[in-house]
Symmetry: C2
Subunit: 313 residues, 2 copies
């Protein structure tokens, strides 16, 4: 059981619209709304170095190695913190650290890789947290269920204030509709049955923490109205139209995004702003047809999944 | 909007163990238990011939064409029943017909294709029903949500007595654990996070209807015990071990399957019986190692999905 590795892939997620539902219990907190998961996503590789794999029951072992005899201060995090990289450069993500701590896996080496822009509304932090949960559980053979791992990643993301609904959407895949907020066992999901090409262009970052930390009353009212529309007509064009209405009513549109959405509309396509980022996404060839040079991917059918590891024989 | 086609893929599902939970409402009826979804599955192609696509609002049109003026007897099913094939041969599946009826899509041509053995414990009828729901919804642009389509297919399968838990498991993908019985909105799911190669050998059919139509008290008690074990330790080897205990206690083992399970065990592998079929499935190369000549596939990460159609640009 020593020196195990596992790799998870988690799709990116662009939120079309949402309402915020804070709660004291991070598993019960979350958002209602809808979005699109993408085949462009985040890959998380977790390597349990020799010794670290025994972390679940290894506090005693760590204490044995601790010549100070100060067992309280000695856990994997302090004794054997592993390396952390994001796209090959040294760097860590708060929600990932909280997940590793919960799984007693801080001793692992964790590499996060993504082609998605960070901080631009693709749910990269949530994807990294969920990928870390799946991969660390596999690498360290922690024996958690999928709901348990999604709950852990969701709570970490909510606790850090970096997202409210990405994790449960990314776990599901497809075009997730968040009917009720919260982690598995609390929240409730549906989906728009669709397979489509998705294009996107990013103009820069927008702080999720700043928006979620402010007054979200008007935003949430607009999000609830958009959700009602989509539930009445669960089709992709309706999702995009509801998203455009939400961006206007919640006063979140930024000029470059508004211009791109209008250009796609003028070219006969469907586009909307990704919440929360200076990002526009479109169905089919909407952005290409409007003269932009977008990245292209597809709706991700599978959701978060292990793609390599001890079980992948 | 005339002459649309859509194609859905739905994974096969081998049930490891289950308890039966009948109910008057087919959406509330179902089973608790666990199983494994497979990359070997069922493809359903739905073609909406010209005219049939207007079926949702087309009862009036059909009546207009009816020279007898007997509007009650005229619906798509009688006026324009489309073709039905299973692996290229003429043939229909009860649950599929009920789904098409619910979606007012009986006028469509429906082709079901699968490499899986039928009636051998792979959930082919449930997969066909769910695939028909996804593909007909897309081809006829019916605008149903995913939960709605899963509920429709689940109710059709339960109503026909051909399965209790395959549809919700196949919609989810992975290694589904059915915590509470029933369709989306009623039932509750979890999963064992695992990616694995799966081998299987089939020795023939076993009637689901005959088993589910008999006294299921002892079977359900064994299924509940197996589920408790898996919830305590959600790992693949535990799922297989719980499945072996269930097959013994529920007295469902057939000699060829028992022999194969023992042979895999003797060779150091993990195997169990697929409920309900004369089928054995094994992790990794378990059956190959034991000298069998199995088919091989993998755990299906995605669950049911559209793979072609109007939205797949």
């Amino acid at each position: 059981m020593s020196s195990q590795r596992a790799t998870a892939f988690v799709p990116g997620h662009v939120t079309a619209f949402f309402s915020a539902h804070p709660a004291d219990d991070p598993a019960a907190a979350g958002s209602r709304g809808a979005g699109v998961t993408l085949t462009d996503g985040v890959t998380v590789r977790v390597s349990a170095a020799d010794g670290a794999v025994d972390g679940a029951t290894g506090d005693d072992t760590a204490a044995d190695d601790d010549t100070n005899g100060d067992a309280v201060a000695v856990d994997d995090a302090t004794a054997d913190a592993g390396s952390r990289t994001i796209d090959g450069e040294s760097g860590s993500i708060g929600a990932v650290e909280d997940v590793l701590d919960d799984l007693n896996a801080t001793g692992a080496d964790v590499a996060v890789e993504t082609d998605l822009p960070i901080g631009a509304g693709f749910g990269v932090s949530g994807a990294a947290a969920l990928g870390a949960a799946l991969a660390a559980n596999a690498a360290f053979d922690r024996g958690r269920s999928e709901n348990d791992l999604v709950r852990t990643a969701h709570a970490a993301e909510v606790g850090r204030g970096t997202g409210l609904g990405d994790v449960v959407a990314q776990a599901r895949g497809g075009v997730p509709v968040r009917l009720e907020p919260g982690a598995p066992g609390v929240g409730e999901l549906d989906g728009v049955p669709a397979s489509a090409r998705v294009e996107y262009v990013t103009f820069g970052e927008l702080s999720t923490e700043a928006v979620l930390g402010g007054d979200t009353t008007a935003l949430s009212a607009a999000g609830e109205a958009a959700l009602d529309r989509l539930r009445d007509d669960p089709r992709l064009p309706t999702l995009l139209d509801a998203a455009r209405g939400f961006a206007r009513e919640a006063d979140l549109l930024v000029p470059e995004v508004a211009e791109a959405v209008e250009a796609v509309d003028a070219a006969g396509g469907e586009a909307a702003m990704a919440m929360l980022g200076r990002t526009v996404f479109a169905l089919g060839t909407g952005l290409s047809d409007a003269g932009y040079d977008p990245r292209a991917c597809r709706v991700d059918a599978a959701g978060a999944r292990l793609v390599g590891g001890p079980d992948r024989e």
